[in-house]
């Protein structure tokens, strides 16, 4: 499974596993129940460079490949998927868009402080009436000479409460559809930017999700990422990154669930023997493990294509579609293997089951992935 990673990358993955096992996993239940992202764990990740994993060294990052980051992300998500998505959004979406499309000034200004974890990124696309249909966003950025004025509402913003940087997609030409969208960097604390209450979610409760409101927020002209009207195009490109990240999140959750199912089935005795002796349970474990491996291969393929700068649209969507469905399947079977114990919070599979669900929803629902894949198939 690890033939996609180099020796150095494997070592980084191993370090991440130790952090995940020793520091993150023991607090995952608390993070889930209280809905918190502990600052001291953020600090520990920052020390290891996890906030600038794929940021080039010249901007203070580790300069590692996306593939290497995925190895680390799987480990973190196996301990706590809610904590993992915070890192994933920060690296794969916010740092990534600045790295790929930001002006030299923007990169110099933001990447070094983001790479240290001093400023965490939030990525703001979705609105109450614009989910899968991204082009229909209503948030506006009006040109006022030397600055833009932003107005609108963004929902499901991950990292909202502690983010230092908000990447906001807004219409600079409300008449145009896709081509009227531009992307701006908004600093936390900007006048008119207000952060809503935390959303109560089914799972990934350790991640912070809120609505944000932009009310006449002034943004300097130089905070435009890429060209005017390129927002949609960039968004589509960056989403590949996000989708690969969610794939590895799903893999991490599924792997953890399988581990628990194996452990439990060996310990649980019914009818005079460990339940792992029953074919009904063995078949489940075999199917779970096979699907996880298949998912991991799909996801690494997509990550590697991305690192090679090759098109990976179809491959990212396939990885995301397969891995998210796989994780839901695996977690459901892990709960089922536990019987009643899988339904209560003392056993972590209850959390994995809730956490896995979101992987089929964000960064494009499974329906949106199928749309992408089908379009790509039909285009050729």
């Amino acid at each position: 499974m690890d033939f996609y990673l180099t020796e150095d990358e494997l070592e980084l993955k191993q370090m991440a596993r130790e952090l995940a096992d020793k520091r993150i996993y023991p607090r995952a239940l608390e993070m889930d129940e209280e809905g918190i992202t502990p600052q001291d764990l953020i600090d520990e990740c920052a020390e290891l460079g996890y906030f600038g994993f794929t940021v080039p060294e010249e901007y203070g990052g580790l300069g590692m490949s996306a593939t290497a980051f995925m190895g680390v992300l799987e480990e973190i998500c196996a301990a706590c998927a809610g904590f993992g998505i915070m890192l994933s959004v920060h690296n794969s979406l916010t740092c990534e868009i600045l790295k790929l499309y930001g002006s030299e000034e923007l990169k110099k200004k933001y990447l070094p402080v983001m790479a240290t974890g001093e400023k965490i990124g939030a990525y703001c696309i979705t609105e109450p009436d614009a989910g899968t249909d991204v082009a229909s966003i209503k948030c506006t950025a009006v040109d006022k000479g030397d600055h833009y004025v932003l107005n609108g509402t963004k929902t499901f913003v991950t990292n909202a409460c502690f983010a230092g940087v908000f990447i906001v997609f807004a219409k600079t030409d409300p008449e145009a559809k896709h081509k009227g969208i531009s992307t701006l960097v908004v600093d936390a604390g900007s006048e008119g930017l207000s952060i809503g209450q935390p959303e109560k979610k089914c799972g990934i409760k350790a991640s912070d999700t809120r609505e944000i409101n932009l009310n006449d927020v002034k943004v300097p002209k130089e905070n435009l990422i890429g060209n005017l009207g390129d927002g949609f195009k960039m968004c589509v490109g960056i989403l590949n990154s996000g989708r690969i990240g969610v794939s590895f999140q799903a893999i991490g959750i599924a792997r953890a669930a399988l581990n628990e199912a194996i452990k439990y089935s060996k310990e649980r005795v019914q009818f005079g023997q460990a339940i792992c002796n029953f074919q009904a349970i063995q078949w489940k474990l075999a199917e779970m493990a096979t699907r996880i491996d298949a998912g991991r291969l799909l996801a690494y393929r997509a990550a590697q294509l991305k690192d090679q700068g090759k098109p990976c649209h179809r491959e990212s969507s396939m990885a995301k579609l397969f891995c998210s469905q796989m994780a839901n399947y695996v977690c459901n079977e892990a709960v089922q293997t536990h019987g009643g114990y899988g339904y209560i919070k003392e056993y972590p599979v209850e959390r994995y089951f809730r956490d896995a669900r979101v992987t089929e929803l964000y960064e494009g629902t499974s329906e949106a992935q199928r749309m992408v894949i089908a379009r790509d198939l039909l285009r050729e």
């Binding site: 899968t132 005079g272 019987g339 209560i344 929803l361």
Partner: protein, 381 residues
Amino acid sequence: MLEKRHQEYREKIRAFCLEKIEPLAATLDEEQRFHDEHMKPLTEMGLFSCLIPEEYGGQPVDTLSYIIAVEEASRVCGSTGITLAAHNSLGCFPILEFGTEEQRKKYLPRAAKGELIAFGLSEPDAGSDAGGTRTVAIKGNDGWVMNGSKCWITSATKAFATIATARTSEDPADRTITSFILEKDWSGYAVGKKENKLGLRGSDTAFLHFDDLKVPLENQLGEVGEGFKQALITLDGGRISIGAMALGLGQGALDVALKYASERVQFGKPISYNQAIQHRLADMATEIQAARLMIYEAAILKDAGAPFSRQSAMCKLYASEVATRAAASALTVLGSIGYLTGPYPVERMWRDVKLCEIGEGTSEIQRLVIARDLLKTMRTV
């Protein structure tokens, strides 16, 4: 397929549930609190005495009507659904079926007034393997002395009485099991820790502990050694009600998904215009209807006094898997908003329904029951 009286009964229960049960459902889940407010209206509606004859103060209906009531309650609140199912099918039924006249007179009128009766079969080390019961009751001159623990007890804190099974031999190798009616007020009877559950958070699930609990002779239920058989007969009926609970939750999820799909606009039109959504809704509705027919068939067989053990396992297996799929599918139709705890109930229903694949025999156990019956009878239809 339903007679007019069953249709009318459903309409009555549906209206009642929308008015009295649904408004609190989200709060109960969120606060993880029992539905005390529902007890009086449910009692008046006769829903705690569905199976109890009038002579014991009940408002009896046939099994099909009772099943419809569980279905409709679960359609808006799974926690209320399971309280009803456990009380009627697992609490009241064994007393009616296996109890003496004195026992019926003593317990059923209270049950009909909405005082809950629980059922204790599972133990930490005896889940699917109910025969592995470790709770033990030893007979003395003036009664039994019981020691042990029972887990996953629905309504454990609230119930005034519990039907519990115990081994009734001092020889650990002897697996003779007997049932007893226990009362909460007796010394030595303790309610343990409340479980923090994935779903059905408004239902009262906890451990029961028996520590030198003295059980009067007259509280033995049925004959010594009949406990395991009684439990299997009881579960045959109980499984229809868990099937009905799954059915209600699946139906409730479909209700929400259909409405949302017609209202949510993306790409300039309601998402219900997309085939991907239409086919999802069609699959949900089709599977739910098939599950409904299986559940009603089992209920009708039970009322007719015909064997229904295989049908009850089949309907529970199928309905719970269908409803789990339907709830997941509904959540998908809603997208990320469906993942939030409110404003839509599908996230709750999705968590609630998972229990239906576990409680009263996991899907694995249902398959075992069905396979055994197939192999024993060699009857394929």
